[in-house]
Structure formats: structure tokens, C-alpha cells
Symmetry: C2
């Protein structure tokens, strides 16, 4: 599948603070984001393209829903990337980039709950408890 | 498939200016958005959940790439919806809402090209020319 090739590099954290969404289970990427924030990072960027876009949104939602209710979107941007196929033709693929933050300026945020109680959630507590439906 | 049931209503424009992404081909929804803008609507909202989220992003990107280069995102928001299954259990599903605008305030927009030349693009010109790759 072209899928496999195109997402070959999207298997976890590559650049610092960037989580590339690929073929692993959703909770692997949730763990990657949670780990970054638990290390004290203020911003984590989730990147995905093609069919992984839905998984990127799932990751963002599970992080906010189960782990860090105080997380917020610094930005959500979509884009179009052009890929060169093996036969030399070009294909376009949509991409998304979700930049999350914690612990930055906190004024006037709708979804925010600064309980401070869940900073070190163990992943296993929730793993498997949020099997998102595909549609 | 639960998919079918959950997205049963997501088959086109339902509320005014809202395009719900469902099981139809991507270009159907591109046409729906383009039609709204061609009617003079200033804002169109694209809504999707679950696996249709990727298609929503494709629609947004194709509208911007092929039809209205001056379109911009008023907002992109994600959320979690809770569904009640047939057996009474509940499932969570991620959702996205992309609000696009044309012809509103135009100051300082990075992607904007106000050529004004493409307001009445015929869909068939581009239909099939942007078969997005799944990943």
C-alpha cells in the first residue's frame, strides 16, 4: 500500500515536541503527547496526513478529555502536501497540524479546568477506556 | 455497520450554510461548499465526525486549492461527541468543525489571493483531478 510508504516515517516523536501520527494504535500517540507534557514541555505539535488525520483529532481529544483538561489549541491548521509516487506521478494529500499547549497564558479559556490534579496520570488507567468509534 | 447509522444524517447540507460530511464522494461536498459560496454566503461550516474527519479536511483543502484561493479559516475546532449505541452503551467519537469564509474582512491574510477570477468555477473542470491519497 502506498499508505505504508508515505507514512513510513510517521511512527512516533521525531522532531522535538512533534508527534507524527502513523500506523500505531491511537493510545501510542496519546502516550507520546502526555509524556512530552509531563516532561515539562509547554507546546506539543501533532502532525498527520491522509487517513491519519482522524487519528490526530482522536489523539488531541483523548489528551484533553482524559489527561489534561487544561490543554488548549494554540492552532489547528490544514494544508496540502504533494507526494511523488514511485512511478514519478504526483499526488496531493491533505495534512493537519494541531499545536497544543499547557501552562502558557491562561486568561479567558473556555474549556480550561485548572484542577492541577491530573498532571501525572498513568496511561494504563485510561488505556482502552476510550476506544473511539470510527464514525 | 454502526458507521452507517451514526452518519445517517450526514449526507449533505442540512442546516443553512452547514455541510455535513458523510459517505458521499469528497467532490459532492466540495460542490456543496462551492455552491454555498457562489450563492453569496459569506461563511460555510463543514462538520464531520469519526472517519469522515479526513474527508472534511480534504474538502476544505480542495475548496481552497482549486476553487477559492481567497477562502480562509474562521476557525477549526475539534470536539468529542457521545453516542448511544443500539445496545444502550455509550461511545465517544471525535468531531471537527471547520468554518470557512470568503469576502469578509481581508486584512493581513497569508494565503489570500484576491484575483476574483474564479468565483464561478464549474465543478466539472476539476472534478476527478484531485483524487486525494488516503495517507
Amino acid at each position: 500500500m502506498e499508505n505504508e510508504r508515505d507514512n513510513a516515517g510517521y511512527t512516533g516523536i521525531r522532531d522535538e515536541n512533534v508527534v507524527y501520527i502513523g500506523k500505531k494504535p491511537t493510545m501510542s500517540y496519546v502516550l507520546a503527547v502526555v509524556t512530552q507534557f509531563n516532561k515539562g514541555v509547554k507546546e506539543v505539535r501533532i502532525k498527520a496526513r491522509g487517513n491519519s488525520i482522524t487519528k490526530a483529532v482522536d489523539v488531541r481529544e483523548i489528551v484533553a478529555d482524559k489527561f489534561f483538561p487544561d490543554v488548549r489549541d494554540l492552532s489547528i491548521r490544514t494544508s496540502t502536501e504533494e507526494l511523488v509516487n514511485e512511478d514519478g506521478t504526483r499526488s496531493k494529500v491533505s495534512a493537519i497540524q494541531i499545536t497544543l499547549s499547557r501552562g502558557l497564558l491562561t486568561g479567558g479559556l473556555g474549556r480550561q479546568q485548572l484542577s492541577g490534579a491530573d498532571h501525572s496520570h498513568a496511561l494504563h488507567v485510561n488505556a482502552g477506556a476510550d476506544n473511539r468509534k470510527p464514525g
